[in-house]
């Protein structure tokens, strides 16, 4: 087992990793930027090293400084969390070359799954259903038009190097494709330094449902029941729940098998997530695979009574998978992502938290690095807390979440708490009757929350 892990991330996920490492008796090193001097991960780790100024490209993405920090603190492993360097195959490669274990899959697997188009082709070989798509990079608008016509509108343009919900644009007609194509290329180039696009058939009334897989270096694989992530805005997830109100035992079995087959096919190891689109008829299609821990992993942990981060660390250290085969989820679990943003305009709202009360009681879990008096820096994403409610039944979990959010106070900044409460009270949401277009419809119908 490792003796010291450097956590190459910040805020709640860094704290999440530090907690599990501490339980395993492993020392931790926090790296932090100048904007994060007073951030909790820097305060609570055993050691801390400042790695650069606030701008992420100079600090949390600064490979040289992060590796030097690992070297001077003699850390034997690096946990990348999610975002930043988590899905950067070059970083994983450099860690290994420096004799430091990268807590995640080997670099070639990150690379394979990182190219969304190649990943599709690989899934096809694993006999996992994929959405009708261009199967190759589309460089020009006329080419795109030809393919879109054959496929039928609406279509979605996706950055081959994309992920995390960015680099996607929907076109519902040829004229929309005219407008979107160059924009999508520019966006892909700006965000991922790679303008390559491919085209997929767009399924407007589908659900976004994902399967967690855990695999060790010895070829043992387990797939865990679904996370329903359809409540999202601009491809950014907002509320997640497990099980999905839409998925029955039969569909679950098929999706678990597909994810397991895909994992074995590519010889995957560590934590991973297969994201699927599921249409009204219960047909599911591979969308993309994420080779890291997901933001919404806590709902799976609560449903199965597991610690996925501990499992990920043990697997990276060469240990055998400890999750028993056929483990079943219990009850119902919901997660709300509380962001520092205006609930009406979605503009980020960084600043000082003057007063803070998080919910508690049985069945409530809060993953957050926020504290009263902390100034949320404007350099990073706006996630303040993930509030998770677990109860025996779905309606009880919704009720528990409502009570929890009503008893949450975050004063000094704007948060999306009012929007969460409005959605939790919506009849379509309560009936489980929703898809990826839910938020758009909800906002059009109800306007901004009061």
């Amino acid at each position: 087992m490792f003796s010291k892990i450097l956590v190459a991330n910040r805020a709640e996920i860094a704290l999440r990793i530090i907690r599990s490492a501490r339980e395993l008796g492993i020392k931790t090193v926090a790296v932090y930027s100048e904007s994060d001097r007073t951030s909790l991960h820097a305060i609570l780790a055993d050691e801390k090293i400042c790695i650069g100024p606030g701008r992420a490209s100079d600090s949390y993405l600064n490979v040289a400084n992060i590796l030097s920090a690992a070297e001077i603190t003699q850390a034997d492993a690096i946990h990348p969390g999610y975002g930043f360097l988590a899905e950067n195959p070059r970083f994983a490669e450099i860690c290994e070359a420096s004799g430091i274990t990268f807590i995640g899959p080997p670099a070639p697997l990150i690379k394979l799954m990182g190219n969304k188009n190649e990943a599709r082709q690989e899934m096809r070989m694993a006999r996992v259903p994929i959405i009708l798509g261009s199967d190759m990079i589309i460089d020009t608008l006329p080419e795109a038009k030809k393919i879109a016509k054959k496929m039928g509108y609406p279509i979605i343009l996706k950055a081959a190097a994309g992920g995390g919900g960015r680099g996607m644009r929907i076109a519902r007609s040829p004229s929309q494709l005219d407008e979107q194509f160059a924009m999508a290329q520019n966006e892909a180039k700006a965000a991922f330094n790679d303008a390559s696009l491919y085209i997929e058939k767009y399924l407007p009334n589908a659900r976004h449902i994902e399967i967690q897989v855990v695999a060790d270096k010895k070829g043992n694989v387990v797939a865990l029941g679904e996370r329903e992530c359809s409540i999202q805005r601009k491809h950014q997830k907002f509320i997640e729940e497990t099980p999905s109100p839409f998925v029955d035992e039969r569909l679950r079995g098929k999706m678990l098998k597909a994810a397991e087959d895909a994992t074995r096919h590519i010889g995957y190891e560590s934590l991973g997530t297969f994201e699927f689109l599921v249409d009204e008829k219960g047909k599911f299609y591979f969308m993309e695979a994420n080779t890291r821990v997901q933001v919404e992993h806590p709902i799976t942990e609560e449903a199965y009574g597991l610690d996925l981060i501990k499992e990920q660390i043990r697997i990276a250290a060469g240990e055998k998978l400890s999750i028993p085969d056929g483990l079943r989820m219990r009850g119902h679990t919901i997660e709300c992502r509380i962001n520092a943003e205006d609930p009406a305009t979605f503009a980020p709202s960084p600043g000082k938290i003057d007063f803070l009360v998080f919910p508690g009681g049985p069945g409530i879990r809060v993953d957050s690095a926020a504290y009263q008096g902390w100034r949320i820096p404007s350099d990073y994403d706006s996630l303040v807390a993930k509030i998770v409610a677990h109860a025996p039944k779905r309606l009880l979990a919704i009720k528990k979440m409502q009570a929890a959010l009503e008893m949450t106070a975050i004063v000094g900044i704007k948060t999306n708490l009012p929007l969460h409460l409005a959605i939790l009270a919506d009849s379509d949401f309560i009936n489980g009757d929703y898809d990826t277009q839910f938020m758009e419809r909800f906002l059009a119908k109800n306007g901004p929350p009061k």
Binding site: L44, C50, N65, V411
Partner: protein
């Protein structure tokens, strides 16, 4: 100045420093050394927002250690050379060579002050100012983080 300095002279010296708004002063004459550091008032709190709830909370027994913030000495003229990277600090080019600089040395602009080893590369850190080295903050062979103070230099006009 005589080697005997009495209380009155020190008081005079302090008020002189006040007047000139100097943060740091050192004087050494035979058998006598004086070092005065004047606390510079910290910036006033930017906002005073009424906080609901109890005004004073009891301090928990095992409160986590707070991040130590480097004192903001605005030392008018004193210049600090900080580490541009994370690495290991070396005062000499190799273990058998003398240090690049010692306290009291004159340094020219672009003169090498130290080496920071990062990723097996030796990075020479140069002075961006001409002046006198008044303090070396880090011991040889110790790790340094980004932005950490390495040297204080009193520039010469």
């Amino acid at each position: 100045m005589s080697s005997k300095i009495d209380y009155e002279e020190i008081a005079k010296l302090i008020s002189f420093l006040e007047e000139k708004k100097l943060a740091h002063f050192e004087l050494e004459v035979e058998g006598f050394k004086i070092k005065i550091t004047r606390a510079v008032p910290s910036a006033p709190a930017v906002e005073a927002v009424p906080v609901p709830g109890p005004q004073s909370r009891p301090k928990p027994e095992n409160s986590p250690r707070l991040p130590e913030v480097q004192p903001q000495v605005s030392g008018d003229t004193l210049r600090f050379i900080t580490s541009p990277m994370v690495g290991t600090f070396y005062r000499a080019s190799d273990p058998n060579s003398p240090p690049f600089v010692e306290v009291g040395d004159d340094v020219k602009k672009s003169q090498t002050l130290c080496i920071i080893e990062a990723m097996k590369l030796m990075n020479e850190i140069e002075s961006d100012v001409e002046g006198i080295v008044t303090e070396i903050f880090v011991e040889n062979g110790k790790p340094v983080e980004y932005g950490q103070r390495l040297f204080a230099i009193q520039p010469v006009a």
